[in-house]
Amino acid sequence: MFKLEIIVREERLEEVIEALGEIGYPGISITSIEGRGQQKGVQEQFRGRAYIIPFLPKRKIEVLISEKDLEKVKEAVIKAARTGEPGDGKIFITPVVDVIRIRTGETGENAI
């Protein structure tokens, strides 16, 4: 089992969610984050004076997947999230020891 942390542009969130749903992972968690990679920030202005917001709002999708689906998921996500411009985001793959579905107490693959 892996946990994927998928950081995407706000405007691609929907496509990524749909892609995940189509390959069997509708169950996800989404967090609003701010981030910075190679994409540059935004210039704003208040009462005549400009300033830079160095971080951009991004969305992080967390999804638990079976090891066997890793490649399929990676491909689907990249396809849905990529624009080719800086700021497309990243996928972090982290190991998960176990998962429990609270409602039933099921664990492991059954609980994904």
Partner: protein
């Protein structure tokens, strides 16, 4: 960019002309002090107080529109909406002062346009003229600001600046001249001529129809229609602002309608206050219940639209009908708002705040209702005969015909010129922001300033979820 500069140059020339002009003459044929006017009419003070205080209330409607429109749109466009709602009144003030008021109330030329009163200078420097100008201005400002709702969340700010320039220079003043400036519509040989007590047509239908034109030229917002072509709601970010704005508008309407007698000596103002209020209440309740019957939810947004629809509809007949008729007019207004919102949506027209249904459609209904419900107890801004009488009170079809003609004229004039205006601008420089800007919201690309830098947080909605 270049167009903006051109605009600025024009604006500066305009100011310069104004200045030069200003210094030319100081001969005063008029009464700027007010002493003469007072001598002639010792009763004038109470009328001045009445008209000014009513005018202040109408001015305050600007705040109401700003809050309703901002509340009904998304947070990422709030600064843009607030800016537009500020600047339309600003531009209307300056343009109407310089030229527009002359077209509206200057010496009538062939029933079509007025001339004179430029820059409120010379002979126009008179307390009576200034009073009238102030009154006309707050009405023109209202007409201008209605449009911002219909074109919200996608119209470029400079395009809006130019639009406000033309609406307060030409579209509004000339039509208002026809109805209120002694122009041809007021002299129609049916009933007592086309009548529009406080501006269901002059103000609201004008605003609503220009807004409709704008919305059609622009096309719907990104995301308003799903891949399946079905309409999707785009959810307003702040119901507290929307409700506050509606209350402010309702409050301001007590200036708009009762003040339109332009005289406190018409005690009929008490009736106008009551009819105005009852139509608002009836519109609100009808919209609330109608949507409840359809969806089993008590829909605040539509109830607010219904309130405003009732107010718009009663604006033309307010002084000519009695209480129960106001309730009926309000009920129908509530139905029109609800039907109008669903209808436009189904036709692919995206009116983010319901401005066309509230102001455009109900403005028309208001004009017609004069021909039906006027009960012969008030004249043409006069407590003396002839009194206005509609179909249901034995007045025959005359007044209704006059109203119908006015309806056709206002729709053609406002929608026609509005469409041309937006279309020409679109061809010349493109009136819609880029797709990226629309996605980000207009606040940062156009104004630099997010409205709520510490609050904003997206909630995930899937446009194509069922």
């Amino acid at each position: 960019m270049k167009k903006v500069r051109t605009f600025l140059v024009i604006f500066n020339i305009f100011l310069l002309v104004m200045l030069l002009f200003g210094f030319v003459s100081t001969a005063l044929a008029a009464d700027p002090t007010g002493a003469e006017t007072l001598k002639e009419n010792a009763e004038a003070p109470v009328d001045y107080v009445w008209v000014l205080v009513s005018g202040f209330l109408v001015f305050f409607m600007q705040a109401g529109f700003a809050m309703v429109e901002t509340g009904f749109c998304r947070a990422k466009n709030a600064t843009n909406l607030l800016s537009k709602n500020l600047i339309d009144f600003v531009v209307a003030s300056l343009v109407l002062f310089a030229v527009g008021y002359g077209f509206l109330k200057g010496k009538d030329v062939a029933g079509f346009i007025g001339t004179g009163n430029w820059f409120l200078h010379g002979d126009s420097y008179d307390v009576g003229v200034y009073l009238d100008f102030f009154w006309q201005l707050v009405f023109c400002g209202t007409a201008a600001t209605i449009v911002s709702g219909a074109v919200a969340e996608r119209l470029k700010f400079p395009a809006y600046l130019i639009y406000t320039f033309f609406v307060s220079l030409l579209i509004y003043p000339i039509y208002a001249h026809w109805v209120w400036g002694g122009g041809w519509l007021s002299k129609l040989p049916f009933g007592l001529g086309h009548l529009d007590f406080a501006g269901s047509g002059v103000v609201h239908t004008i605003g609503g129809m220009v807004g409709l034109a704008g919305a059609m030229v622009l096309g719907p917002r990104f995301g308003k229609y799903g891949r399946d072509g079905k309409p999707r709601p785009i959810i307003g970010h702040n119901m507290a602002l929307a409700a506050l704005g509606t209350f402010i508008l309702w409050f301001g309407w007590f200036g708009f309608n009762p003040g339109s007698t332009f005289s406190a000596h018409h005690l009929r103002i008490a009736v106008v206050a009551v009819t105005t209020n009852l139509a608002a209440a009836a519109g609100a309740l009808t919209a609330l219940i109608t949507v409840y019957l359809k969806t089993r939810k008590w829909d605040l947004g539509m109830a607010l639209n219904g309130t405003l629809g009732g107010l718009v509809a009663i604006t033309a007949p307010a002084a000519w009908v009695e209480a129960w008729a106001a309730v009926v007019i309000g009920i129908i207004a509530g139905l029109i708002v609800v039907a109008g919102v669903y209808f436009l949506e189904s036709r692919g027209i995206d009116d983010p705040v319901g401005a066309v249904s509230v102001h455009g459609f109900n403005g028309i209904w208001g004009l017609l209702s004069v021909g039906l419900f006027a009960d012969g107890t008030y004249g043409v801004y006069s407590i003396e005969k002839p009194f206005v009488t509609g179909l249901f009170y034995g007045g025959g079809l005359g007044q209704l015909v006059a109203q119908l003609i006015g309806v056709v004229v206002v729709v053609v004039w406002a929608f026609g010129l509005g469409y041309i205006l937006f279309k020409v601008m679109d061809l010349v420089f493109g009136i819609r922001v880029s797709p990226e800007e629309e996605l980000t919201g207009l606040d940062i690309p156009e104004h630099g300033t997010p409205a709520y830098p510490e609050f904003q947080r997206q909630r995930t909605t899937l446009i194509n979820a069922s």
